[in-house]
Symmetry: C2
Subunit: 211 residues, 2 copies
């Protein structure tokens, strides 16, 4: 006979519990997850299709605040920028989950829809079909690294020697006020990446590459 | 009386053992590390100055194959590109260490030298002092995310529906042969980032921004 809590078990609750474990130690095991949910491991399998399925529930839980329609509601670059800022923010709340999610294939139809939206926006903007997915993945790599950087202290280099590291000392002294170090790095990188994409678009247009 | 192995304890050995633990589970504790080295925790403190010092030894161990002089041996963009390809490769061998190292301040003089080299190259190229560090950090964020992507399977999206995801299906079919998926994404992103930096240089020059 199922215990009372088992009746309440659903995919959302499993995803939440798995994310809580991943937030603590970067990973989870099925026995740990079952224990946290006060059920037998076998009960989990009434709701999920193995470990990879649970990893995907963790991904959905992390990304549930992210609005993928941003990708299609503006020009390609404004859409990517808005989506990117939001994506970095949601991952910054779960730095320990980044490695797991960055290395496990995406499987949820609703997340694959985001890739469909992004590639559609890029193709409509004139980017070549063979490059659109690579551009989006490159952006994601930058965003995941930038999300980790938000857990790095504001002072990210300790023991800079004003003589041995004179140029660096000057650069640190010149850092703009009113914006945090990781925020500035993120904005500089995001704008550069989008500008670089834009420049390749010009090239493609100029040489009339087939699309 | 110290045990035989204690006589052999040195900072390099401590760094190697800590990295082995981090490779397995993304983190280490002092008792685990002492156990692995067959010493008492107190013996470690004859060689290291606390946990942050050990984290830095892990960083040195990961980066010991990286040649930071690349940053200063070419034009700024060729130097950054060569250094970047090498940096991604060394981190790709230690994906579980990425989070720890991306969120702990850099403290080793020899690694701070790399920041000095990078900022010097960027300033000599004409980039403004207030932006050089942000550019380098943005590049590092991209590289760490790209290193994680090398642990993602070649097929990174499972269950693409040819009807619901028609554009994405076309993009995947059009992926270039002869280059792996993560490799293509990395090169596309790296070149875009550098091109975006180059474009901002033009702007700075054009408007004669103070440096």
């Amino acid at each position: 006979m199922p215990r009372p809590t088992e009746a309440l078990l659903d995919r959302r609750r499993i995803g939440r519990a798995a994310l809580a474990l991943v937030d603590k130690k970067g990973d989870f095991t099925i026995p740990e997850l079952a224990k946290r949910l006060h059920v037998q491991p076998s009960s989990l399998y009434h709701h999920v299709d193995g470990r990879a399925d649970i990893v995907e529930l963790v991904r959905l839980e992390v990304l549930n605040k992210l609005d993928h329609t941003l990708l299609r509601s503006h020009s390609w670059d404004q859409g990517l920028a808005a989506w990117a800022r939001s994506y970095r923010s949601v991952f910054a709340e779960h730095p320990a989950a980044i490695r797991m999610l960055a290395t496990a294939p995406v499987r949820s139809p609703e997340l694959i829809d985001a890739y469909e939206g992004a590639t559609t926006a890029l193709l409509e903007a004139g980017f070549p079909r063979e490059q659109a997915l690579a551009m989006f993945v490159a952006l994601e790599s930058f965003l995941l690294g930038s999300a980790l950087d938000l857990s790095m202290p504001e002072v990210m280099i300790e023991g800079v020697d004003p003589e041995r590291h004179a140029v660096l000392t000057g650069c640190i002294a010149a850092l703009p006020a009113g914006i945090s170090r990781p925020e500035q790095a993120f904005e500089v990188g995001l704008l550069a990446l989008l500008e670089g994409f834009r420049a390749s678009l010009g090239t493609e247009h100029a040489r009339g590459a087939p699309r």
